[in-house]
Symmetry: C2
């Protein structure tokens, strides 16, 4: 590895519930991965010390430390650099992560919500380059989202915008968290797809190809021509398209980027999403709209965090 100091380098850290991934990043390129850190069964202070170590290791061949961006799953105040609480890791309530790390490292550190970081990565270096208005959706255990509006990450009044998984497709539909009803996530989250797939095979008097019949199994079945699987993907795509149609009437974006494990079903899910969206919206808002798969995969978070770190560093 040869690293010129003229390159704008940054470190992106993707803070997941079971492992914290880190990388030294140049644009959309990962130059070097850091050691994985497990945040479970460790205090925030212990984990922060490990993060500091990994950052120093990633910069060991550079003349100095570089800016750091961290994406976290939970309530993150990106303006003040404080973690209010994380979704799947205890002990991170009201931790001023930005200040603590900046004091230890002497280099600029920014925090961001993980969905926003991924969207920023796809927008700056992935599937939505050159778009000014983008809806990003992640289809996984939950359904997450983030928005790029007028060429900027849009965070909302309490930095909580983008939650398309709780936007409803049926106001008298399935109950979800916080009293929401008919939220998209209640239909197309990982476990909901698995349950629906098993129900569909049972109703047809057939065994599921494998149990649990995960989205991955169901995608393989669909790709092998199983009509039960294909039909269920059609329904799922229609539901996602319906939720996106409402968002598109409201925001008139020029691109929708869809990532996460469920999106790996490819055409099986993208084709019905495109059909559903087109059939539910006016030509003026769907004719130029691109609906594209995420491009950066598991690296979107780290790449987005690094890009956000550089942006903040340049502004400072």
């Amino acid at each position: 590895m040869s690293l010129s100091t003229s390159k704008p380098l940054a470190i992106g850290i993707d803070f997941g519930g079971t492992s914290i991934k880190s990388a030294l990043v140049h644009g959309c390129e990962i130059l070097k991965h850091g050691r994985l850190i497990n945040p479970q069964n460790a205090s925030a202070q212990e984990t922060l010390a490990l993060i500091e170590e990994v950052i120093r290791e990633l910069c060991s061949e550079l003349p100095s430390l570089v800016p750091v961006g961290i994406g976290l799953p939970g309530l993150v105040d990106s303006t003040h650099g404080i973690v209010h609480g994380l979704s799947n890791v205890d002990g991170w309530d009201e931790i001023p992560v930005q200040r603590l790390l900046q004091e230890r490292l002497g280099v600029s550190v920014i925090l961001e919500n993980d969905a926003n970081a991924m969207a920023y990565g796809e927008w700056q270096h992935g599937a939505a380059v050159h778009s000014r208005n983008v809806i990003c959706v992640t289809l996984g255990t939950g359904v997450g989202g983030a928005l790029i509006l007028d060429g900027k990450l849009f965070r909302g009044a309490q930095l909580a915008a983008g939650e398309i998984g709780h936007a409803s497709i049926d106001y008298r539909g399935k109950p979800g968290p916080y009293g929401s009803t008919g939220g998209l996530e209640e239909y197309v989250g990982n476990s909901q797809i698995t349950e629906r797939a098993e129900d569909a095979y049972r109703a047809a008097g057939l065994p599921a190809p494998v149990t649990p019949c995960t989205p991955e199994v169901l995608a393989k079945a669909g790709q092998s021509g199983c009509p039960i699987a294909a039909n269920l993907w059609e329904q799922i795509g229609d539901e996602i398209g319906a939720a996106l149609a409402s968002a598109v009437w409201l925001l008139n974006p020029d691109a929708i980027v869809i990532g996460g494990g469920v999106a790996k079903a490819g055409d099986l899910i993208f084709n019905p999403i495109r059909r559903s969206l087109k059939s539910r919206t006016a030509p003026v808002i769907h004719e130029k709209l691109r609906i594209v798969p995420a491009k950066l995969g598991n690296d979107a978070g780290a790449i987005g965090c690094a890009a956000l770190a550089l942006e903040a560093h340049q502004e400072a």
Copy 2:
């Protein structure tokens, strides 16, 4: 009327399907109304000549003409100042209104979609002053909307954003325009409310207070304690709250401004909207959210157009 030239004055023109209203505006204050113009049965050129006359009349006591903003119902390219077509007036396809009027008047002219102009008025001088992220909804014959995001009017990729009336509350619900299903407008537009009210009285074996049982009639009935009317307003508020809940999960605004004829039902509709929205969203996104009636009434369009004209003039 005494007009000091130090005041930032502008002319706001609200181009409606049956009448074109105009005013000389200072902030949220209408200093002088112009003659009404009827755009029906006239060519665009004839109507533009009348608009020019009215502008000159409104400025007759001023040392010079002042900037002009025009809000129009239809497809308006505010960037290039072109009207692509109007909703209820023929003959306005691809008319470069901005250029034509600027040539005639020698003063800066801007165009805007009417829903955006009203939202801008309420944001600058009405119900949503001091808010950075606002959803504006107009409940009338149709259900219109507009967005202020990160302290700016948000127009979307094809300048078509804000159409919350076509956002769906039920993806298998009532059919609407452009293949949309379950769009809010199909439930709470003026004529839909009238139809539902008459059905409700019929189902109860009672005569409607007046036929047609318009939203205005239904509001009076509700205010007089009629349980049939009160119950229907509760349902309508729940549906509007459901559509707004999805928009709020997505955008996390700090204010929602609701105007239009149907909003005149007051608490009868605002209370169930607030209850519905609160019951369907997380505390973090509804606790600080204000849901308020529009303040500027019929003047919102003219006031918003004047404010947009001044903003554009200052930027130029």
